[in-house]
Symmetry: C2
Subunit: 244 residues, 2 copies
């Protein structure tokens, strides 16, 4: 689907490879849960190093090389490069531990607030396909981990992108997690919040990202299965969950 | 010295961090020596992964973030991105082992032959400072390790850069390796080949890179100490070895 006619921006994660590599390096990531039930990894200096290595280094360049071999003029950038993703640093985090809420200090995470539109447009105008990944850069110039789905929404909104495809390891948004037949085929944009109750684990972030994208002007969002052949075409063809 | 008036391209390595990380991952790099006595690391699939992680991920983005914090609009790219460094794949390598010469097969190394000038000019024209590092991409779209000094020479030549500064962990080109007072202050371009006899270890590659740069039209090359304050200003001020 990456035809040379359309302008495409790719945002990717790499959490599986990240966790593998972190374990090999003896830097196992610590999972934390926010008071609203959203899980993420706690990011300190050592974890940021692993992220830089796996996201911006290994996986980003492997995706870029694969696309280049297919004739797509891919250029990989992290959110750090040219202040592509500027984020508000969330230094102190409230986390739920059992029934308690604790304050975790010195977290290197942030939420993307601004995208370097000039840099992306510079590449897109010359038919390059930007391949983007975390981490981001805070307003204080700290390298911070950031939520990919939120960042992708801000990218899409900033570039006035109409369609956003979100791929993951499931057929789409499932009413019951791990029951693949419980796929929700369509969600009206004004009803998205009501579906939050069905979102489990990482799907919560994807729904929040979709909400942000809609707010920022994206018209259609496609959740689809990233494990199958031609995942983007299939998702756009309505095989997953369509939000519009 | 990175004033905002001049157009600057930075090319960096990361061999120390690479070796540390390779060791931590249980993927210790194997050093090989060419028949002409030039040492490098043998690069297989696992070694390329470490290179991607350390060069294109960790170190590249740390340099970019440091420059951004100083007001330089840095953008980090590997030789893979947008086919920035296209290389001839050297799959089979002759290596010296003691007094024998052996053929090593399936090496993932290459020599940079072409630079994506369009992509670099695109960034430079908008006052971005490209921060470049290995690996490169072969003509067959394989990610390959490549000699940095050679690549930097081809970048400088392609962009018609007049001055090239090469920094390393020594005061300059030494007549006797590890004798810091044996610095060679000046070399005439036509005499560079004669000085090859004094080049030990990695300095051999730097001299070959300098020769390539001169061939490609670079006018002045400065070898300098990367361990000191203001290393570029000092090198340009003639504190190291000046080749012109």
């Amino acid at each position: 689907v990456l035809t040379k006619k359309e302008k495409v921006v790719i945002v990717h994660g790499a959490s599986v490879v990240r966790d593998e590599m972190a374990e090999k390096l003896g830097r196992k990531m610590q999972t934390i849960t926010s008071p609203s039930g959203i899980t993420s990894v706690f990011t300190n200096e050592k974890a940021i190093e692993v992220m830089l290595m796996v996201y911006a280094g290994l996986v980003n360049k492997q995706i870029v090389a694969t696309l280049l071999a297919q004739g797509v003029k891919a250029v990989g950038l992290s959110g750090v490069d040219g202040k592509l993703w500027q984020a508000r640093w969330k230094k102190d985090l409230y986390v739920k531990e059992g029934s308690k809420v604790k304050l975790l200090r010195n977290s290197l995470t942030g939420r993307v607030e601004k995208v370097n539109k000039e840099l992306l447009m510079l590449l897109l105008k010359k038919s390059y396909t930007p391949v983007l990944c975390p981490p981001a850069l805070s307003w204080e110039n700290k390298i911070v981990n950031t939520d990919n789905d939120w960042a992708a929404a801000v990218v899409a909104g900033t570039l006035k992108i109409r369609k956003m495809v979100v791929l993951f390891e499931a057929p789409g948004f499932l009413r019951e997690v791990s029951v693949e037949t419980s796929l929700i085929p369509k969600i009206k944009r004004e009803e998205l919040s009501e579906f939050m109750q069905y979102a489990a684990g990482r799907m919560k972030k994807k729904v929040l990202g979709a909400k942000k994208a809609l707010e920022m002007g994206v018209e259609e969002i496609y959740f689809g299965d990233g494990r199958i052949e031609n995942p983007v075409t299939r998702a756009l063809g309505g095989k997953g969950t369509v939000i519009k």
